[in-house]
């Protein structure tokens, strides 16, 4: 087996109803892996930008790029080599946990406490996906009730 590596692709597509399902169908139909997928319209254009984090051998990644490009409403596929990559996470903690400890930890990962309610604290961080992963490991001791990750977004340097 050829070695598998993680890759982030940016895919520029025309905004139309079925374009997202074309892409996800392609991944599932051909047995490609999606680690995360984010999508949002590009301001002042008829395009949207998807960021797909995936993994596979060099040959598989090349096929993914080519097969994506073959889809008619896809304008551009950028396979990032040198990129800035960020991901956001929101975490809900019980109100009984230490506010200041959580706040300090979030600070180290470009985050902060964003909401304190009657029963819960909500915090956010925004950092490289692997660092977000580390952060989520380190907050286990604060008994997080719920975690949501956004998936990666990326820009070429």
């Amino acid at each position: 087996m050829e070695a598998s590596e993680r890759r982030v692709l940016s895919v520029i597509v025309i905004n139309e109803a079925s374009v997202l399902s074309r892409i996800t169908d392609l991944f599932s139909g051909r047995g490609y892996n999606i680690e995360s997928l984010t999508v949002a319209p590009i301001p002042d254009s008829k395009y949207s930008r998807l960021t797909i984090a995936t993994s596979g051998s060099v040959r598989v990644i090349e096929q993914i790029t080519k097969q994506l490009h073959k889809l008619i409403p896809i304008y551009k596929v950028i396979e990032h080599a040198d990129l800035v990559e960020k991901e956001m996470a929101l975490i809900k903690f019980p109100i009984t946990e230490s506010l200041s400890d959580i706040d300090a930890l979030c600070g180290a990962y470009n985050g902060r406490i964003v909401n304190v309610g009657e029963n819960v604290i909500i915090a956010m961080v925004a950092d490289e996906p692997c660092r977000v992963g580390h952060f989520l490991e380190s907050i286990k001791r604060f008994n997080p009730k719920e975690i949501v990750r956004s998936g990666a977004v990326a820009l070429e340097r």
């Binding site: 025309i14 399902s21 169908d25 090349e62 096929q63 080519k66 097969q67 073959k70 008619i72 896809i74």
Partner: protein, 563 residues
Amino acid sequence: MEINGSRMIIEALIAEGVTKVFGYPGGAIMNVYDEIYKQDGFEHILARHEQAAIHAAEGFSKVTGEVGVAMITSGPGFTNAVTGLADAYMDSIPLVVISGQVPMSLIGTDAFQEIDAVGISRSCTKHNYLVTDAKDLPRVLKEAFYIARSGRPGPVHIDVPKDVSAQIAEFDYSLPIELETYKPNTRGNARQIKKAMDAIAGSSRPLLYLGGGIMNANATEEARELAKTMGIPAVETFMARGTMGHENPLLISMLGMHGSYAANMAMSETDLVIALGARFDDRVTGKLSEFAKNAGVIHVDIDPASISKLVNANYPIVGDVKSVMEEMIILAKDKIDSERYAPWLETVAHFDELHPLSYKDDSDRLKPQWCIERLGELLGDDANISTDVGQHQMWAAQFYPFRRARQFISSGGLGTMGFGFPAAMGVKAADPERVSVNITGDGSILMNIQELMTCVENKLPVINLILNNNYLGMVRQWQTLFYDKRHSSTPLEMQPDFKMLAESFGGIGYVVETKEEFDAAIKDAVEKNVVAMIDVKTHRLENVMPMVPAGGSLFNMMLESKD
């Protein structure tokens, strides 16, 4: 002008030069059929099953090179057509298929005959559309034809809700196509072509590996000239049969699972594979790690995704194989010394002498291979040959003397039993001057038998040549060879009387057991000019040989047929 959506479909088909449409009506597509009734710009041929309508459109397209068109209703009409779409997708056949859909207001409510048609067709079409407003129809129709026939051809599906086909909007078909996200590359990179030619000049055992892309590109003449200019031997894929022409001294034969010994050995011994519009299918390569092991690879293909998908290309060239070969021919004239490969040609000739494609004839019972060879002698270039799927299909590819482009029409990629008869019907509709034969098996023919009616009604005299072995022969062969002769569900002991069956529809039938009867039946069927079923009782346990067992290496062929 302002017209309704249905009329737009008619106008667009006429503007595209469509002469024949194959289809089957139903509730959701009735508006369109009403407009079909009112026009005389094209002929509508009523198939007797939606799958057959699509295969007929495929046959029509394969022979003419034009976009085939089919029309179906929503729900079961559409789902019946899916096999045809998938077949066209696998074999790169340009089609535009228009289906009716429930009205927009009912979409998503599990309405009567509602199915998510574009959801289903997405993975088996080149592109598809759900049209939600009639004002989009002119653009969608025009794009559909363009997408179907350009680049790597393929089927395009348009789903039209019933209220959209009734909706009135502006129709202007002269507007240019603006598809900024779809621009297929047709000119190969000149520097890359030059490098490839240098590689050929430096090789000593180069081999042309010709694929169906050459048919798509209408480039058989260029392929013949390129081979001749360079003095390099060629193997053809199943989809490329007819490219070089049967008697061409540079043609080795078909390669692959049922390719000839010489073709497969040449592929195993070559030092440079020159792939032209071929896609390294697993039926061709066998075990990938052993495939053309010591060879460099030049790969010309219009679809970048075909290149380096399975076999790494040292010289990838994205472009139309016709224009690339034209450039190669010019360069070959001063770069290539065609004498250089004479020893290699001798080696190849030696392979062929060692184990030529052959079979043992039998005086008691007809051999299927003899039937194909004889058919070739009787009809030769005057016939278009379609096939179903199975042993008969492989024998047709091995033993019919193909000499023309687009003469051989068969389901290669999907291997769809039931393809042959309706395809041959579409072929006859497209090319009425030539005899249209469907070489079939006693299993396959029953998968679209209802088309006897379409042929009689529309005077499409297809000749069905049934090589009747009372088995699902190809599966029986695998059971014989790999499942210790456990013939599970493959004996076809129960059969209709094919002669009477044909006659009951108004066609003509023959039962053939001897060589004399074979000749007589073919001659009579050609003369009678009505749909025919020739039921040829053949040897039951004949195997297709040579054979590379699935996943085996090309050079490890079974050569002998043992029962």
